[in-house]
């Protein structure tokens, strides 16, 4: 085991002795840390600060400096401390008012529509119909339409929102996976040497 990995592995075992459960808990912890730093306005630095928190908490735990038995409140305390350090840096104040970065090419409509179209087609028919009715109902008559859609599918308006959210979440995962796969692009030389035959 490398010296860098050892504290992290011990930290994972602290989250849960069972490795698979520890992995899941680690992802949830990371999401919590991202939320914490975004909630504090750290913006583009949020991921780096979340990494720093895990790193510091893991090293402290491996060194036997942690008295707490529960990793989550401990990590929150470390995150608060790291935020204080970060906010003392003059750069942090500038970042807090930095406008949002422009979307990456994959995050534009043109960039993601092939993936989105494919993911929409892979939705179960009931989910696809529900999303379609939701958006159509919205455009026709915002409140009344959605009420009618909710009635038609036998849900309350709140229930409909939750259902459509659930589908959008599924789509977001699908689109993100698809965009990652698309980044595994294949480049074909137009001319030049070719190992095999090309018809």
């Amino acid at each position: 085991m490398s010296p860098q990995l050892e504290p992290f592995n011990r930290f994972l075992a602290w989250l849960d002795p069972e490795p698979q459960a520890a992995g899941k808990k680690y992802l949830l912890l990371y999401r919590r840390l991202q939320l914490f730093f975004h909630g504090r306005g750290c913006g583009v630095d949020a991921d780096a600060l979340a990494d720093m928190t895990v790193d510091r908490a893991a090293r402290r735990y491996a060194a036997g400096d942690v008295l707490s038995s529960d990793p989550l409140p401990y990590c929150l305390a470390v995150a608060r401390y790291i935020f204080l350090e970060h906010s003392k840096k003059p750069k942090a104040a500038e970042l807090a008012f930095e406008p949002a970065a422009p979307p990456q090419p994959d995050d534009t409509y043109e960039g993601m529509s092939p993936c989105l179209n494919r993911c929409l087609r892979s939705l179960p028919p009931d989910d696809e119909a529900l999303v379609r009715q939701y958006y159509e109902g919205e455009k026709q008559e915002r409140i009344r339409g959605r009420g009618e859609t909710a009635d038609r599918v036998g849900l309350s308006k709140g229930g409909l929102r939750v259902e459509v959210y659930r589908i959008r979440k599924k789509l977001k995962t699908c689109v993100t996976d698809c965009l990652q796969r698309r980044s595994r692009t294949v480049t074909f030389p137009e001319k030049g040497p070719h190992h095999g035959r090309h018809d």
């Binding site: 975004h38 306005g41 989550l72 406008p99 989105l116």
Partner: protein, 309 residues
């Protein structure tokens, strides 16, 4: 943070996500985030709801400003916003097309059922279809007196029947191709003129049976192979590329560019013709890639084993 009612919690989470919470509320929420798993799901929902509200123009002016300068600093949220925006664009474009009614859906299923009946060498499936439909229709006559449990059973039975028919249809299509191949082979034999016999086969993505690739044996006189590749082909893809590699060392043996015209009518497969001489006995990996905008993306990989001529 007031979590007594879902709407108060949602309002509180919304302020938090926009960076508009008073310090005490923010601290309480942070404690909750680090102690309760279920709040993470509620935050995911609040993020989604906030994005939808922004796109619908339902945020106040200070909220819009906080949304742009605070909330959207996260790249994940920017992607989420673009996905929601793209969904609206797609559905607003589709709105001009008539939505498929249940009637049309049933008609299309009926057409799918009827397709194999029109195909040659398919009497068994046709009889099975009529028998199954008869059973189902018979059940339908007394359906009004059935309990809901029986109705669920019937729906289940119908769904199984549909699945069985689809399988039969696929088998029928394969039989029809085989017939066509035999017919062509017979024609070729009866014609002394020099022709190049074509052998057709179908590959499904992966195509590993019990960890072994699909085994293909081709007639000795087949010069060319028509390979139909099953794939869910995106409608916006215009160009395709097929590459065949030897499995043992990954060496590229052959490649070909294809246009949309090679795709089947229902968009579920694409056919490529290749010379049989490039495939001696051995294992191969075929990769199908496609591009909508010049960037090729791998759609599917297919494994097969040539058993030799």
């Amino acid at each position: 943070m007031n979590a007594d009612s879902p709407s108060l919690l949602l309002a509180s989470l919304r302020r938090y996500l926009l960076g508009l919470s008073p310090e005490s509320e923010r601290d309480q929420l942070e404690d909750a985030v680090f102690s309760r798993d279920e709040i993470l799901e509620q935050i995911d929902f609040a993020e989604d709801d906030l994005i939808e509200s922004y796109l619908r123009g339902n945020l106040s002016e200070p909220e819009v400003s906080a949304f742009k300068t605070f909330f959207l600093k996260s790249p994940d949220r920017r992607r989420q916003l673009e996905i929601s925006r793209a969904m609206r664009t797609i559905y607003s474009l589709r709105e001009s097309e008539p939505a498929p009614s249940r009637d049309r859906e049933q008609r299309s299923i009926w057409h799918r059922f009827m397709m194999p009946v029109r195909m040659p060498l398919f009497p068994a499936a046709a009889v099975a279809l009529l028998l199954l439909l008869g059973v189902w229709m018979g059940s339908r006559l007394t359906v009004t007196t059935r309990s809901s449990e029986e109705l669920a059973g019937l729906r289940d039975q119908l769904s199984r029947t549909e699945q069985r028919l689809r399988r039969e249809q696929a088998r029928g299509e394969e039989l029809a191709r085989e017939t066509e191949r035999l017919r062509m082979a017979a024609t070729t034999k009866s014609q002394p003129a020099k022709t190049s016999p074509v052998f057709s086969f179908l590959l499904a993505p992966g195509n590993l049976r019990d960890g072994e690739p699909k085994r293909l044996a081709i007639p000795p006189d087949a010069d060319r192979l028509d390979v139909t590749l099953e794939s869910d082909i995106p409608s916006d893809f215009r160009k395709f590329r097929v590459i065949i590699r030897r499995s043992s060392d990954g060496a590229e043996l052959w490649s070909k560019s294809l246009e949309r015209t090679a795709i089947s009518r229902d968009g579920s497969s694409i056919t490529v013709t290749l010379p049989s001489s490039i495939l001696p006995k051995g294992d191969y990996l075929l990769t199908l890639s496609g591009a909508a905008d010049g960037k090729y993306e791998v759609l599917n990989d297919y494994s097969f084993r040539m058993a030799g001529k």
